[in-house]
Amino acid sequence: MTGASAFQKDYKTIIPVEALARFVERLGEQYTLTGPVGGGLTARFEDVSSFSQMDLDYQSTMLPPGKKYLFEPVQEVLSFDISEGRFLEDHKDPQMRKRALIGLHPCDVNAILYLDKVFLGQYTDPFYRIRRENIFTIALNCKSVTDLCFCHLVGAGPYLKARSGYDILLTELRGLLTDSGVDSGGSGADMDGGEKKFLLELASEKARDLFHALSPDKGKPPEEKDLAKIKEMEAALLKTFKKNLDMEAVQNALLARPDHHALKETADSRCLSCSNCVMVCPTCFCHDVRDETDLALSRVKKIRRWDACQDISFARVHGGNFRAQRYARLRQFVFHKLDYDTQFGMKATVGCGRCIRWCPTGIDLTEIAKAMME
């Protein structure tokens, strides 16, 4: 092992897709490979057995990969033996398989950074920690944006700016670059006859060690013009965003008008309190822990499951409910995502647009915020 000092964080190389595939498949000998399957807006992260099963052209998933694998929907956190009257000492963390999460978009990487702040802060959640430690993250810069994306407004995409929290960052180079020197120009992603290549950036020591040990083809360092081209691609991509919102203005406007009619009207006419927005949100971390006792009275399991502020019982206390009204629950979601940055020193939205896409009535938090500022 080489010392940390030997590692250069900005190690970059350009490799063809075949080389990447071989590297990933070698990685699969040590890690469970998990990547986007299905494609389009309804891809899903699933365990795959080969590189080719993944669709790296996917646009979005319903369940966010970070949350799905680091903070599972339902988790037994503790069990209690009633006959012995004690919590089981031998209740250890389940042996985690090492998992390589491949093809995460920048928003989802940023969401993991947010969850890190929640679960690895003053108090550490042991289940999250062990999963986090066993995950190898290969991020992938976006090559297209959807109508609902607004990551650019919160600095969470479409290109990853964070310098930590992931292991490898991929950027697909469109058209022909260094080899022939021919620039395909434009955004024709998979050019006929063009060789698919990726700019690969190693962002951790683990990534460096694994890449050098496993990848048969180390690629070539990028030339200036390649990097310039990538900058152009990013700039072009930024122009394709449809959503706009002055995030700084939002910061002050929402709390000033907590009972704005836009919230109430949206809640009354469209909000179903179904919690789809929260379930698909990559940064929503709320959960509930319930004790479940078997009928033989032998074992109590503490079961943790995702919970949602839209759920009527979420804020129920003895003698009342501090968010008994539907608009108060909707407000909690919108304000939490757009306004409560002080909570963890980071915006609670990564602009992935999932809450809008998977809302049965298409409620859009950015539209609510806009209306509230008018």
Binding site: V118, Q122, Y123, D291, Q343
Partner: protein, 293 residues
């Protein structure tokens, strides 16, 4: 793998005292692997998650602390450190706990939360305003008040009826030993006109006790604990007297479940009641949605 903050530890109830109808104080002693050394010392205003497997957990603040408590209660006969929680039978967990008696075991996690800002008390008039069970989290403050070097300590306490006043037997001692000035009021006056010999029980809202109070706003610090609506009107009364919101501290009770700021249930605006509270300066909460304050 699970540290003390997430895994409940066993504790034994060594004494139970009925404070008022439906309210009991459990004196608790650590048991098994749980000692006062493995668990950080609690501060007044902090809470434990008390619970029982299969039933769930409820956040209950300390009403008796090993430190700062009257000599009699500081340690038990064997010299073990003990602490206490005052619980009202209300929900699922407290209803279950109300059946417990001396010798029964329960499980707890903690201590959690930010306590009362005791460091700010020195040289100030410490004004304690409590309603109902809200007296419980301030009891350790009263017990240690003298050591905090305030210039004066006033306790105003309101309850539904005279029979609902908790810690009745302590008032005389607080007056005598702690030089605490005490005012009591009830919503529904009963037969009892005074307790502990000379504390008269008024009838009416707690604000009626605050109004005639003479305070120097810049030299007063207020700790308020009680129902949210009572805290709101008390704080308003104090601000009318010229106190600033940063000198008024309130303890809010929310649906705290995890104690660690993970589960999200206790959020008030950007705050987590369990780790940023339950004690907040009035300024911190004012104007936030879903807060009555």
């Amino acid at each position: 793998m699970i540290n003390g903050s997430l895994a409940p530890v066993k504790a034994v109830i060594t004494d139970v005292r009925q404070e008022s109808p439906g309210v009991k104080t459990f004196t608790i002693e650590p048991a098994g692997t749980f000692t006062m050394e493995t668990h950080p010392m609690a501060k007044p205003g902090q809470f434990n998650m008390l619970g029982y497997p299969g039933v769930g957990e409820a956040p209950i603040s300390f009403s008796v602390l090993p430190s700062g408590e009257g000599k009699k209660n500081k340690k038990d006969k064997k010299g073990k450190k003990i602490f206490g929680h005052t619980v009202r039978t209300a929900g699922r967990v407290t209803g279950f706990l109300s059946q417990f008696g001396r010798g029964d075991e329960l499980f707890l996690r903690g201590p959690f939360g930010r306590g009362w800002p005791l460091e700010e008390v020195m040289g100030k008039h410490l004004l304690l305003i409590t309603g109902g069970l809200g007296l419980a989290p301030l009891r350790p403050v009263i017990e240690m008040a003298r050591s905090l070097a305030p210039i004066e300590v006033t306790l105003l306490h309101g309850a539904r009826g005279p029979e609902d006043i908790i810690f009745k037997t302590e008032f005389a001692r607080w007056q005598r030993v702690g030089a605490v000035k005490i005012g009591l009021t009830v919503d529904n006056p009963g037969q009892e006109q005074e307790i502990a010999g000379d504390i008269k029980i008024h009838s009416g809202l707690i604000t009626e006790l605050i109004r005639p109070l003479r305070i120097e706003p810049a030299q007063t610090i207020a700790f308020i604990c009680g129902p949210e609506i009572m805290m709101r009107f008390s704080a308003r009364e104090l601000m009318l007297k010229g106190m600033s919101g940063s000198a008024i501290h309130v303890s809010v009770e929310r649906r705290m479940k995890c104690g660690t700021g993970h589960c999200g249930h206790c959020q008030i605006g950007p705050w987590f009641t369990c780790k940023d509270g339950p004690v907040f300066a009035y300024d911190q909460l004012k104007g936030l949605p879903d807060v009555i304050l």
